[in-house]
């Protein structure tokens, strides 16, 4: 890293062959697969626009962190409790706003997410504010050591430090993808799609659409919380800046890249997205660090524009479903 920065205008591909780089990208992609699966369920399959996924991720992560650090709960108990809290928040936001047109709900979720983030920033006694919240991951570290031990016994003498996390996050992401995939093909999933197409038609056929929309949002919140746990473990600490609305929109970019209404496309989109975002860190330009960070997002923007021009349905989306959407 340091050598790279001292040489101006150099692009080094060394890092692209390093296992450490790909482990890092893989973990982020796994986290954002979970994160974006929630958006896929809401936007792609229920027709509900959720702009607050980063907020649900924050609530999950902070609830877990606070329960472990401040309330001395077991890590393994704190996680389901935190998922429950995130789901309850989803229902709470949804109850008044999901009855209205979908744009009201979108704004309500965005506002709620910002309330969560700014609260985390300012409730310093609980969250550590911008200094961060530490010390919730002891239980994880001992599990990681066990997984490390297995890796060693499989013949890998010096496993990559974060490899156990990579395995775990993708295991959970794959299970979540498969569960959603099957749920979507069930009669339950059919009702969700009907709501996406025409809520009045679904209501005229006896479906209590509000309940289904609330379920959709609660499940998305749970997935956001799960993503939050892995994000917290990956960073070893929690800071409010990890939950900016920007990350929700990275989720949307992943959604568009992978294709709407396709769960398997989410993982693909997440891998591409984080390869671009992390890979461009190694492109050395004669620019200040701040400007270079902006260049990364310009590249992402360019990729999205090209995608819209040449494959508007995303990599795995169905063209017919785009055209037929009126």
């Amino acid at each position: 890293m340091t050598e790279l920065i001292t040489v101006p205008l150099a692009v080094t591909f060394e890092s692209f062959t390093s296992l450490g780089f790909w482990t890092g990208v893989g973990i982020l992609a796994g986290i954002y697969t979970l994160f974006t699966l929630g958006l896929q369920l809401n936007v792609g399959f229920t027709g509900v626009v959720n702009f607050g996924q980063a907020g649900f991720m924050a609530v999950g992560a902070y609830a877990m962190g606070i329960l472990v650090v401040d309330a001395h709960w077991s890590f393994w108990l704190a996680m389901p409790a935190a998922i429950g809290i995130a789901m309850a928040l989803g229902v709470l936001i949804g109850l008044p706003s999901l009855r209205l047109r979908s744009d009201y709900f979108a704004i309500a979720t965005l506002a709620a997410a910002e309330i969560v983030r700014i609260t985390a920033q300012n409730a310093r006694d609980l969250t550590g504010g911008n200094q961060g919240l530490f010390g919730f991951d002891e239980s994880w570290n001992s599990l990681a050591d066990t997984i490390d031990g297995w890796l060693v016994s499989l013949g890998w003498s010096d496993p990559e430090t974060l490899f156990p996390l990579l395995i775990m996050v993708w295991l959970v992401a794959l299970i979540a993808t498969a569960l959603l995939y099957f749920a979507q093909r069930s009669p339950w999933g059919r009702v969700l799609r009907a709501i996406r197409e025409d809520e009045d038609a679904a209501r005229a056929l006896g479906k209590n659409t509000l309940v289904y929309k609330l379920q959709s949002i609660a499940i998305a919140a749970a997935l956001g919380a799960l993503a939050g746990f892995f994000l917290a473990i990956n960073l070893n600490f929690l800071a409010p800046d990890e939950f900016l609305p920007l990350f929700t929109f990275i989720g949307y970019s992943i959604l568009v890249l992978g294709g709407l209404a396709n769960y398997w496309g989410v993982a693909f989109g997440a891998i591409i997205m984080w390869t671009i975002l992390e890979g461009t860190r190694f492109v050395d330009l004669p620019l200040s660090a701040e400007r270079e960070a902006s260049v990364r997002f310009m590249i992402v923007g360019l990729v999205l524009i090209l995608l819209m021009a040449f494959r508007p349905q995303g990599t795995f989306g169905k063209k017919e479903e785009m055209v037929l959407g009126e």
Binding site: W188, R203, L205
Partner: protein, 281 residues
């Protein structure tokens, strides 16, 4: 006729029916729906007999579709009473009313475009345990079993409505007339005891239309199903209904058997400004 209307408005139970025998499935009393300063429905009162075919007619803007929306819970009626199978349903949510057995179609069709035709149909089936997440985990067999039954029934109906070839196509590729058919068939999938059809014949070719009407009569006879439909085609109205309700400017201005209604002076006035009997022009 006019006496009957007046009497119905006075007595909440209503007893104006005699032709089909008095067993009302739907009792609408003095329903009012306002949009801002406009009274879209201004005190509609009528009964629909169980097992009857009733037509709801009236000039454009008479309030027919608004009344449909109030009866089926899509609009909140401000005043009056709507009783279905003896239970008050005014201001009940649409899904509750649908589950009670009153299913509707829409004037502007609501085909679920990005879903296959077969899924449009299967969605409508009642009592699918698989529509609840918990059941998918604890009794997936029941959901699968129900899916098989439902698919069989859906395929039968698609055959009857001449949509079988389109079973696996997206509903979005259907023509306007085909969407009308799909919506009619989908409403039947819900196994209703009463069906409210908003202009079911619009855009459907006459041969197929005749078959659907025949099917409607068959359902009425075999299953005692009740039909209330809005229709502008007077031949269909006069030839296929037991009873006709005529609305104009938000009010029910006449009701009774077709041959009686078509000679009613107020109906003729509302439609033609006087001169000829309705449906004879």
């Amino acid at each position: 006729m006019s006496d009957a209307v007046v009497q119905a408005q006075q007595s909440p139970v209503g007893s104006q029916q005699s032709a089909v025998g008095s067993r009302p499935i739907l009792q609408v009393r003095d329903v009012v729906k306002r949009f801002g300063g406009i009274l879209a429905v201004n005190g509609a009162t009528f009964d629909v007999e169980k097992g009857s075919v009733t037509a709801l007619i009236g000039p454009n803007g008479a309030g027919k579709t608004t009344l449909f929306n109030v009866i089926t819970g899509f609009y909140r009626g401000e005043h009056g009473s709507v009783r279905f199978k003896g239970k008050e349903i005014l201001r009940k949510p649409p899904y509750t009313i649908a589950r009670m057995g009153m299913v509707r179609t829409f004037q502007i069709t609501k085909a679920l475009a990005r879903m296959p035709v077969i899924d449009n149909m299967m969605l409508a089936a009642p009592d699918q345990p698989g529509e609840h997440l918990l059941n998918l985990v604890i009794r997936p067999g029941a959901a699968l079993q129900r899916e098989r039954e439902v698919r069989e029934r859906a395929e039968e109906l698609l055959e009857l409505f001449q949509l079988a070839k389109l079973t696996n196509e997206y509903a979005g590729i259907l023509s306007g007339g085909q969407r009308k058919l799909l919506e009619f068939a989908r409403a039947l999938m819900a196994a209703p005891s009463m069906l409210l059809l908003d202009e079911p014949m619009a855009g459907i070719n006459p041969t197929l239309g005749a078959r659907l009407l025949e099917h409607m009569h068959q359902l009425r006879e075999e299953r005692d199903m009740t039909f209330l439909f809005v229709e502008h085609d007077m031949e269909v109205v006069m030839g296929h209904s037991d009873n006709v309700i005529v609305m104009a400017e938000g009010r029910v201005i006449a009701q009774g058997p077709p041959e009686e209604v078509r000679r009613d002076k107020r109906v003729i006035d509302a439609y033609l400004g006087g001169g000829a009997a309705v449906g004879e022009g």
